[in-house]
Symmetry: C2
Subunit: 414 residues, 2 copies
DNA sequence: CAGTGTTTTTTCGAGGCTCGAAAAAATGGG
DNA sequence: CCCATTTTTTCGAGCCTCGAAAAAACACTG
């Protein structure tokens, strides 16, 4: 069942720890790393000199530029930007975006493309991804071997091993093994991740103070998604992907959801749901995709006068509030980030949301629930995706298990 | 943040692993342990001879009595029953139960007592627990030092560190620091755990085949509780206790719940809810405690004729079904164990439950959801509690961190 | 500008742990 | 009674981390 710790694992894990400490902090000194990891100075010294020699880390100026301290000045450690390069692919509704990222997380090159994901056939969709990746590789004048990992983020359900998209609202096709396809095509290890999970990862890197061990990222867009971090770890469902928060049941036998079921949270709070409630089309109306601009107009109208538009946002708030309340019955309250177009309309949503949450088990500790908003999800998803890919490089290439070490490290550490 | 692995941790963890392997399997040989842990024979040999010398393990007959294999016969390892003794305290509605357990998990002595938990004052409740523990200690002719740990299971919300009961339906009092009280009184380290979590722990020990890495234990009793195991670990809320499944919202502004809120699952599926629906008292009726015998009569009536009783169970099933469906939107479907009086009436609950679950996101994979029933929760809770206490002994006393080692191990390893 | 104090980093030997190989132990089969 | 077979122990090698001490690098002082 659980496996014992071998002697070689020790170094591996501690290497990974040093790398992650350097990635997290800005130019930490060896002494600072020793303090945060709890390892001795000698160990940190040994590991970091190894890593510098291998070209993973580099020495840089100390963290505090104006340090007027007495003794020997600290030498800051930083990631070597050229240690590895990764690629991110973000596939969302009618939109495909690719970026080449250096080892420090800086964007080297990028390309974005509109495409009609809903109507494309399977081969065209997969082909579009492959084509854009290939174009970036060629344009950036990069050797295929120069890319260490590819991470693909997609809206919908992915499998446990981050290898395939099982189901997605952006395409009628199911079970597309993107990771295998990309690996076969380019020979580069690839992973497939849920977009909301990547949002959560990005939030943690952006603001580690606020988004620390426990928090929730909710995507308010066409659909409702969620990325959940509990006890410092991404909480993905055991088999498939991130929690399908949007498809928790708000009202049994309630409004028609895009997924074909009834009463889902999304059927009240998704863009299409807000839209059809605002236009008084009824809860049975076929879900339509509404543009971001139209949603902004809708929000403006709702702010202006008390009509069906305002009521639509109220209903959305209510659904989200009861949903979060039920969620908080299971996992204790935590900070929430609202992301996506409708997050820009959170002022319209919040009152009903808070009222609903107060009527639930989560309401007791409503103080610890605070909301933050971020209207633009795409940059967030890409950032998270990049960090995910880089973390894989950190762990798999630069602090690999015994078997992987010789082979992979050899060709990537240049 | 995350802490590096020290060199001493290695032995500690591997010791813990060997102990747990012996506890899990029936008389495993050293070779078998080497296979399951992935450690080398030499390491297992060294660790187990240490443990035998310390009196934690003992050699016994091989696992397969009729082993006619060729070579040197395997020597089975087993736990030394006298290595340590623990105590379990289970506090439930109007009932207090204490047991003394040896290191293998066998019950040495026990005592049970009725008491009126709902009306007792705070001091009386705490005093009753102390008194029954003291009596067991004296009767069993045990030195206080002979008990290594006390584990107390209670219905309700406990704090993260397993030290206090924060809130419970069995008493009006809140924030009772049972662990501190017991430690102060007897000088024995104590922990406080949620009853449903202990049910889940026990199920895992009873049937590791079925209840392995992911499963759900649902308590169908006065209230509705849940113990959730995900990825092989008990999933407790981040701050407080196990998921308050019973207080997820089934119908916004719905039936009156014992917790004062409206529309909770419990307000449809708790004993009192089934009772008041069966007696057609309306969903506003004040919750009353219904005896187990009365519930059994109710179930029998419901089986006999199609009246309000049957409808009450149908409503309970519907609430549980939508609740599980919402849960399965977050954590992928897993086997469910229904425990408690109303689990004996699961035949009445199941049809509506399945129908509801089919209308939710969880319904897609309904194949992987299977139900098992266990009408009697008390033995399960006590078993889980015992295993919890013993696991603590395994990890904290017999495979302790560096600082704890000298002091504690000295007086307990006899 | 040399000496002193302070802090960071490296060096070095000690102690522990796990591992693989070989030896020892324990048994059935011929 | 010896051999084949399997389990368990023994032993030396190789790593890894640690603590202490040394070395390095700078600020401050007079």
């Amino acid at each position: 069942m659980s496996v014992g710790i071998r002697h070689d694992d020790l170094r591996r894990r501690n290497r990974a720890m040093v790398i992650s400490a350097v990635r997290r902090a800005a130019h930490p000194s060896r002494t600072e790393i020793a303090a945060t990891t709890g390892l001795s100075h000698s160990t940190i010294s040994a590991i970091s000199s190894d890593l510098i020699e291998e070209g993973v880390l580099a020495e840089s100026k100390p963290s505090e530029p104006g340090s007027f301290k007495r003794g020997r000045p600290q030498v800051g450690l930083s990631l070597n930007p050229e240690a590895a390069t990764v690629m991110t692919v973000v596939l969302s509704l009618n939109f495909l975006s690719v970026a080449v990222i250096d080892y420090t997380g800086q964007v080297i090159a990028e390309e974005q493309r509109r495409l009609d994901t809903l109507t494309m056939n399977r081969e065209a969709l997969v082909g579009a991804c492959i084509a854009i990746v290939r174009r970036r590789l060629e344009d950036a004048d990069l050797d295929v071997r120069g890319i260490a990992r590819i991470a693909l983020a997609i809206q919908g359900v992915t499998d446990t091993h981050a290898r395939a998209m099982l189901w997605s609202p952006i395409t009628p096709h199911t079970d597309i093994p993107f990771a295998d396809v990309l690996e076969e095509e380019f020979g580069i290890p690839a992973i497939v991740e849920n977009d909301c999970n990547m949002m959560a990862v990005a939030l943690r890197w952006r603001d580690p103070q606020r988004y620390r061990d426990d928090f929730i990222a909710v995507l308010l867009s066409h659909g409702i998604g969620m990325g959940l971090v509990l006890k410092g770890e991404l909480f993905s469902g055991t088999h498939s992907s991130g929690g399908e928060f949007g498809h928790m049941i708000h009202r049994p036998d309630g409004a028609l959801c895009r997924c074909g079921r009834r009463g889902c949270i999304e059927a009240y709070a998704g863009n299409y749901a807000i839209w059809r409630n605002a236009s008084e089309m009824g809860e049975e109306a076929e879900p339509v995709d509404v543009g971001d601009a139209e949603m902004r107009v809708l929000a403006a109208t709702a702010r202006e006068k008390d009509g069906p538009e305002r009521e639509a946002y109220r209903k959305a708030g209510e659904a989200l509030g009861f949903g979060l309340g039920s969620l908080f019955a299971l996992v204790d309250p935590a900070p929430v980030a609202m992301v996506g177009v409708s997050a820009a309309a959170f002022d319209l949503i919040e009152p009903a949301l808070r009222e609903a949450i107060a009527q639930t088990a989560g309401g007791q500790h409503s103080k610890s629930i605070s909301f933050d908003t971020e209207p633009n999800e795409l940059p967030l998803i890409r950032e998270g995706c990049a960090m995910r890919a880089l973390t894989f490089v950190d762990e798999q290439i630069f602090a690999p298990g015994v078997q992987a070490r010789a082979g992979v490290a050899g060709k990537n550490v240049a």
